[in-house]
Amino acid sequence: MKWVMLIILCVSGSAWAGEARPLTDDPVAEARLKHLAVELRCLVCQNQTLADSSAPLAEDLRREVREMIAKNMSDPEIIEFLVSRYGDFVLYRPPLKATTTLLWVGPFVLMAIGVTALVMTLRRRSRTVAEVSVTDEEHRRVEQLLAEGEKRS
Protein backbone atom coordinates (compact mmCIF):
# COMPACT_ATOMS: atom_id res chain seq x y z
CA MET A 1 0.00 0.00 0.00
CA LYS A 2 2.81 2.35 0.96
CA TRP A 3 4.48 1.65 -2.35
CA VAL A 4 1.35 2.47 -4.30
CA MET A 5 1.04 5.80 -2.46
CA LEU A 6 4.65 6.57 -3.16
CA ILE A 7 4.26 5.85 -6.84
CA ILE A 8 1.12 8.02 -7.00
CA LEU A 9 3.02 10.83 -5.27
CA CYS A 10 5.91 10.61 -7.70
CA VAL A 11 3.66 10.55 -10.73
CA SER A 12 1.54 13.48 -9.56
CA GLY A 13 4.73 15.37 -8.75
CA SER A 14 5.84 15.19 -12.34
CA ALA A 15 2.38 16.35 -13.43
CA TRP A 16 2.81 19.49 -11.32
CA ALA A 17 6.10 20.22 -12.98
CA GLY A 18 4.05 20.66 -16.16
CA GLU A 19 3.53 24.30 -15.05
CA ALA A 20 6.88 25.24 -16.46
CA ARG A 21 6.37 23.31 -19.64
CA PRO A 22 8.88 23.83 -22.42
CA LEU A 23 7.97 26.89 -24.43
CA THR A 24 10.06 26.46 -27.51
CA ASP A 25 11.28 23.53 -29.52
CA ASP A 26 14.73 25.00 -29.65
CA PRO A 27 16.61 23.75 -26.56
CA VAL A 28 19.08 26.68 -26.63
CA ALA A 29 16.28 29.25 -26.67
CA GLU A 30 14.50 27.33 -23.95
CA ALA A 31 17.58 27.36 -21.76
CA ARG A 32 17.92 31.10 -22.26
CA LEU A 33 14.26 31.64 -21.40
CA LYS A 34 14.65 29.57 -18.24
CA HIS A 35 17.81 31.41 -17.27
CA LEU A 36 16.05 34.78 -17.75
CA ALA A 37 12.73 33.79 -16.22
CA VAL A 38 14.17 32.76 -12.86
CA GLU A 39 15.65 36.27 -12.51
CA LEU A 40 12.31 37.93 -13.20
CA ARG A 41 9.42 38.35 -10.83
CA CYS A 42 5.83 37.65 -11.77
CA LEU A 43 3.80 40.80 -11.08
CA VAL A 44 0.60 38.95 -10.28
CA CYS A 45 1.91 36.31 -7.86
CA GLN A 46 4.61 38.54 -6.48
CA ASN A 47 6.67 35.87 -4.76
CA GLN A 48 6.91 33.64 -7.78
CA THR A 49 9.37 33.92 -10.61
CA LEU A 50 8.23 34.35 -14.16
CA ALA A 51 9.32 30.76 -14.71
CA ASP A 52 7.18 29.32 -11.91
CA SER A 53 4.02 31.35 -12.25
CA SER A 54 1.03 30.06 -14.13
CA ALA A 55 -0.76 33.44 -14.02
CA PRO A 56 -2.02 34.53 -17.46
CA LEU A 57 0.21 37.60 -17.41
CA ALA A 58 3.26 35.45 -16.69
CA GLU A 59 2.35 33.27 -19.66
CA ASP A 60 2.05 36.35 -21.86
CA LEU A 61 5.37 37.69 -20.65
CA ARG A 62 7.07 34.36 -21.27
CA ARG A 63 5.64 34.50 -24.77
CA GLU A 64 7.08 38.01 -25.23
CA VAL A 65 10.49 36.92 -23.91
CA ARG A 66 10.45 33.89 -26.19
CA GLU A 67 9.72 36.11 -29.17
CA MET A 68 12.52 38.48 -28.22
CA ILE A 69 14.89 35.52 -27.95
CA ALA A 70 13.77 34.44 -31.41
CA LYS A 71 14.58 37.97 -32.62
CA ASN A 72 18.10 37.48 -31.27
CA MET A 73 17.89 40.22 -28.68
CA SER A 74 20.51 40.15 -25.93
CA ASP A 75 19.66 39.41 -22.28
CA PRO A 76 20.20 43.05 -21.16
CA GLU A 77 17.91 44.22 -24.00
CA ILE A 78 15.16 41.82 -22.92
CA ILE A 79 15.50 42.84 -19.29
CA GLU A 80 15.42 46.51 -20.31
CA PHE A 81 12.18 45.84 -22.23
CA LEU A 82 10.53 44.55 -19.06
CA VAL A 83 12.04 47.10 -16.68
CA SER A 84 10.90 50.01 -18.87
CA ARG A 85 7.32 48.72 -18.53
CA TYR A 86 7.12 47.29 -15.05
CA GLY A 87 10.00 48.98 -13.22
CA ASP A 88 12.82 47.50 -11.15
CA PHE A 89 10.20 45.48 -9.32
CA VAL A 90 10.38 42.76 -11.99
CA LEU A 91 13.99 42.11 -11.09
CA TYR A 92 14.81 39.81 -8.22
CA ARG A 93 18.16 41.58 -8.08
CA PRO A 94 17.33 45.28 -8.45
CA PRO A 95 20.20 47.58 -9.49
CA LEU A 96 21.95 49.69 -6.86
CA LYS A 97 20.66 53.26 -7.18
CA ALA A 98 19.32 56.07 -5.01
CA THR A 99 15.91 54.50 -4.43
CA THR A 100 17.29 51.04 -3.70
CA THR A 101 20.21 52.06 -1.45
CA LEU A 102 18.31 51.20 1.73
CA LEU A 103 17.42 47.80 0.30
CA TRP A 104 21.04 46.94 -0.43
CA VAL A 105 22.77 48.67 2.46
CA GLY A 106 20.08 48.19 5.13
CA PRO A 107 20.93 44.61 6.13
CA PHE A 108 24.62 45.46 6.49
CA VAL A 109 23.79 48.52 8.61
CA LEU A 110 21.60 46.36 10.86
CA MET A 111 24.36 43.76 11.12
CA ALA A 112 26.92 46.45 12.00
CA ILE A 113 24.61 47.78 14.73
CA GLY A 114 24.12 44.24 16.06
CA VAL A 115 27.83 43.43 16.08
CA THR A 116 28.67 46.75 17.75
CA ALA A 117 26.04 46.15 20.43
CA LEU A 118 27.34 42.63 21.01
CA VAL A 119 30.96 43.75 21.29
CA MET A 120 30.02 46.59 23.65
CA THR A 121 27.98 44.29 25.89
CA LEU A 122 30.72 41.66 26.01
CA ARG A 123 33.37 44.26 26.84
CA ARG A 124 31.27 45.82 29.57
CA ARG A 125 30.62 42.41 31.06
CA SER A 126 34.27 41.40 31.16
CA ARG A 127 35.16 44.80 32.66
CA THR A 128 32.61 44.45 35.48
CA VAL A 129 33.95 41.00 36.29
CA ALA A 130 37.52 42.28 36.39
CA GLU A 131 36.60 45.25 38.55
CA VAL A 132 35.46 43.10 41.47
CA SER A 133 38.50 43.34 43.68
CA VAL A 134 38.28 42.21 47.27
CA THR A 135 40.23 43.57 50.19
CA ASP A 136 41.80 41.22 52.74
CA GLU A 137 39.24 42.27 55.34
CA GLU A 138 36.35 41.39 52.97
CA HIS A 139 38.01 38.13 52.03
CA ARG A 140 38.21 37.10 55.67
CA ARG A 141 34.57 38.00 56.19
CA VAL A 142 33.51 35.91 53.21
CA GLU A 143 35.39 32.91 54.53
CA GLN A 144 33.80 33.39 57.90
CA LEU A 145 30.28 33.60 56.44
CA LEU A 146 30.81 30.52 54.30
CA ALA A 147 32.08 28.59 57.30
CA GLU A 148 29.07 29.62 59.32
CA GLY A 149 26.77 28.54 56.52
CA GLU A 150 28.38 25.11 56.39
CA LYS A 151 27.92 24.67 60.11
CA ARG A 152 24.25 25.56 59.87
CA SER A 153 23.53 23.07 57.10
Binding site: D60, R85, Y86, G87
Partner: protein, 175 residues
Protein backbone atom coordinates in the same frame (compact mmCIF):
# COMPACT_ATOMS: atom_id res chain seq x y z
CA UNK B 1 14.44 52.44 34.49
CA UNK B 2 17.34 53.32 32.22
CA UNK B 3 17.98 49.75 31.16
CA UNK B 4 14.48 49.52 29.71
CA UNK B 5 14.84 52.71 27.74
CA UNK B 6 16.90 51.21 24.90
CA UNK B 7 14.76 48.09 24.26
CA UNK B 8 11.64 50.23 24.54
CA UNK B 9 12.88 52.74 21.97
CA UNK B 10 13.89 49.91 19.60
CA UNK B 11 10.43 48.43 20.05
CA UNK B 12 8.76 51.77 19.28
CA UNK B 13 10.87 52.19 16.11
CA UNK B 14 10.05 48.65 14.91
CA UNK B 15 6.33 49.17 15.61
CA UNK B 16 6.54 52.45 13.70
CA UNK B 17 8.04 50.75 10.63
CA UNK B 18 5.58 47.86 10.77
CA UNK B 19 2.73 50.36 11.12
CA UNK B 20 3.85 52.17 7.97
CA UNK B 21 4.20 48.80 6.24
CA UNK B 22 0.58 47.96 7.03
CA UNK B 23 -0.70 51.07 5.30
CA UNK B 24 1.22 50.29 2.08
CA UNK B 25 -0.39 48.23 -0.64
CA UNK B 26 2.11 45.71 -2.03
CA UNK B 27 0.03 45.41 -5.20
CA UNK B 28 0.70 49.02 -6.13
CA UNK B 29 3.98 49.00 -7.96
CA UNK B 30 5.08 52.47 -9.09
CA UNK B 31 5.05 52.61 -12.88
CA UNK B 32 8.19 53.74 -14.69
CA UNK B 33 5.93 54.94 -17.52
CA UNK B 34 4.49 57.90 -15.61
CA UNK B 35 6.09 60.99 -17.15
CA UNK B 36 6.89 59.15 -20.38
CA UNK B 37 5.12 59.12 -23.72
CA UNK B 38 2.24 56.66 -23.87
CA UNK B 39 3.14 53.66 -26.05
CA UNK B 40 1.80 53.82 -29.59
CA UNK B 41 -0.74 51.27 -30.69
CA UNK B 42 -3.43 50.83 -33.30
CA UNK B 43 -6.05 48.31 -32.34
CA UNK B 44 -9.38 47.37 -33.89
CA UNK B 45 -12.42 48.94 -32.27
CA UNK B 46 -14.90 46.84 -30.35
CA UNK B 47 -18.04 48.10 -32.06
CA UNK B 48 -16.73 48.72 -35.54
CA UNK B 49 -13.97 46.20 -36.09
CA UNK B 50 -13.02 47.80 -39.39
CA UNK B 51 -12.05 51.01 -37.62
CA UNK B 52 -8.81 51.53 -35.76
CA UNK B 53 -8.26 53.08 -32.35
CA UNK B 54 -4.92 54.81 -32.00
CA UNK B 55 -3.67 57.38 -29.44
CA UNK B 56 -2.06 59.31 -32.30
CA UNK B 57 -5.56 60.65 -33.09
CA UNK B 58 -5.86 62.09 -29.60
CA UNK B 59 -2.91 64.50 -29.59
CA UNK B 60 -3.96 67.84 -28.11
CA UNK B 61 -6.52 66.25 -25.82
CA UNK B 62 -6.46 65.18 -22.20
CA UNK B 63 -7.97 61.72 -21.95
CA UNK B 64 -8.27 58.63 -19.80
CA UNK B 65 -7.38 55.17 -20.99
CA UNK B 66 -9.11 52.46 -18.99
CA UNK B 67 -8.06 48.82 -19.32
CA UNK B 68 -11.01 46.58 -18.49
CA UNK B 69 -12.47 43.16 -19.23
CA UNK B 70 -15.80 41.45 -18.78
CA UNK B 71 -14.11 38.75 -16.66
CA UNK B 72 -12.61 41.24 -14.22
CA UNK B 73 -14.36 41.63 -10.89
CA UNK B 74 -12.74 44.97 -10.00
CA UNK B 75 -14.20 46.38 -13.22
CA UNK B 76 -17.68 45.70 -11.90
CA UNK B 77 -17.00 47.90 -8.86
CA UNK B 78 -15.51 50.55 -11.07
CA UNK B 79 -18.15 50.63 -13.78
CA UNK B 80 -20.71 52.96 -12.11
CA UNK B 81 -17.89 55.36 -11.24
CA UNK B 82 -16.83 55.48 -14.89
CA UNK B 83 -20.45 55.98 -15.95
CA UNK B 84 -20.81 58.96 -13.61
CA UNK B 85 -17.53 60.43 -14.75
CA UNK B 86 -18.48 60.05 -18.42
CA UNK B 87 -21.88 61.64 -17.82
CA UNK B 88 -20.34 64.60 -16.03
CA UNK B 89 -18.54 65.34 -19.30
CA UNK B 90 -15.42 66.52 -17.51
CA UNK B 91 -13.07 64.16 -19.32
CA UNK B 92 -13.32 61.68 -22.20
CA UNK B 93 -12.72 58.06 -21.33
CA UNK B 94 -11.34 55.59 -23.83
CA UNK B 95 -11.53 51.91 -23.10
CA UNK B 96 -9.25 49.00 -23.89
CA UNK B 97 -10.94 45.64 -23.72
CA UNK B 98 -8.13 43.51 -22.35
CA UNK B 99 -7.88 39.79 -23.23
CA UNK B 100 -11.62 39.40 -23.52
CA UNK B 101 -14.27 37.68 -25.62
CA UNK B 102 -15.99 40.13 -27.98
CA UNK B 103 -19.50 38.82 -27.32
CA UNK B 104 -19.09 39.01 -23.56
CA UNK B 105 -17.61 42.49 -23.74
CA UNK B 106 -20.56 43.70 -25.82
CA UNK B 107 -23.08 42.16 -23.41
CA UNK B 108 -21.27 43.77 -20.48
CA UNK B 109 -21.49 47.24 -22.04
CA UNK B 110 -25.09 46.70 -23.01
CA UNK B 111 -26.02 45.80 -19.44
CA UNK B 112 -23.99 48.34 -17.49
CA UNK B 113 -23.89 51.12 -20.03
CA UNK B 114 -20.96 52.32 -22.10
CA UNK B 115 -18.85 55.08 -20.53
CA UNK B 116 -16.26 54.97 -23.32
CA UNK B 117 -15.99 57.29 -26.26
CA UNK B 118 -14.18 54.54 -28.16
CA UNK B 119 -13.30 51.02 -27.09
CA UNK B 120 -10.24 49.32 -28.51
CA UNK B 121 -9.66 45.59 -28.41
CA UNK B 122 -6.44 44.11 -27.03
CA UNK B 123 -7.07 40.47 -27.59
CA UNK B 124 -3.66 39.01 -26.80
CA UNK B 125 -2.73 41.57 -24.16
CA UNK B 126 0.18 43.10 -26.04
CA UNK B 127 -0.97 46.71 -25.62
CA UNK B 128 -1.39 45.87 -21.95
CA UNK B 129 2.23 44.72 -21.72
CA UNK B 130 3.44 47.90 -23.44
CA UNK B 131 1.53 49.95 -20.89
CA UNK B 132 2.84 47.83 -18.01
CA UNK B 133 -0.62 46.54 -17.13
CA UNK B 134 -0.48 43.68 -14.65
CA UNK B 135 -3.98 43.62 -13.26
CA UNK B 136 -7.14 45.10 -14.72
CA UNK B 137 -8.72 47.53 -14.13
CA UNK B 138 -5.98 50.08 -14.66
CA UNK B 139 -6.50 53.67 -15.71
CA UNK B 140 -4.04 56.08 -17.27
CA UNK B 141 -4.34 59.87 -17.48
CA UNK B 142 -2.73 61.05 -20.70
CA UNK B 143 -1.99 64.72 -21.43
CA UNK B 144 -2.13 66.81 -24.61
CA UNK B 145 1.39 65.80 -25.64
CA UNK B 146 0.49 62.14 -25.26
CA UNK B 147 2.47 61.74 -22.03
CA UNK B 148 1.21 59.45 -19.24
CA UNK B 149 0.75 61.63 -16.16
CA UNK B 150 -0.92 59.26 -13.73
CA UNK B 151 -1.62 55.57 -13.38
CA UNK B 152 -4.38 54.14 -11.25
CA UNK B 153 -3.90 50.48 -10.38
CA UNK B 154 -7.14 48.77 -9.45
CA UNK B 155 -10.63 50.23 -9.57
CA UNK B 156 -11.37 53.94 -9.55
CA UNK B 157 -13.46 55.02 -6.59
CA UNK B 158 -15.51 58.24 -6.40
CA UNK B 159 -12.94 59.49 -3.90
CA UNK B 160 -9.99 58.92 -6.27
CA UNK B 161 -11.86 60.61 -9.09
CA UNK B 162 -12.68 63.67 -6.98
CA UNK B 163 -9.31 64.06 -5.31
CA UNK B 164 -6.85 62.89 -7.95
CA UNK B 165 -8.23 62.42 -11.45
CA UNK B 166 -10.38 65.54 -11.85
CA UNK B 167 -7.92 68.05 -10.33
CA UNK B 168 -5.15 66.56 -12.51
CA UNK B 169 -7.33 66.70 -15.64
CA UNK B 170 -8.17 70.34 -14.90
CA UNK B 171 -4.51 71.20 -14.45
CA UNK B 172 -3.54 69.39 -17.66
CA UNK B 173 -6.31 71.10 -19.63
CA UNK B 174 -4.89 74.48 -18.69
CA UNK B 175 -1.31 73.52 -19.62
Amino acid sequence: MNRFLLPLSIFVVVVGFLGIGLTLNPREIPSPLVGKAAPEFSQPQLYDQEKVFSPADLKGKVWLLNFWASWCSGCKTEHPVLMDLAQSGQVTIYGMDYKDQREEALTWLQRGGNPYSVVGVDEVGRVGINFGVYGVPETYVIDKQGVIRYKQIGPLYPDTVEKKILPLVKQLESE
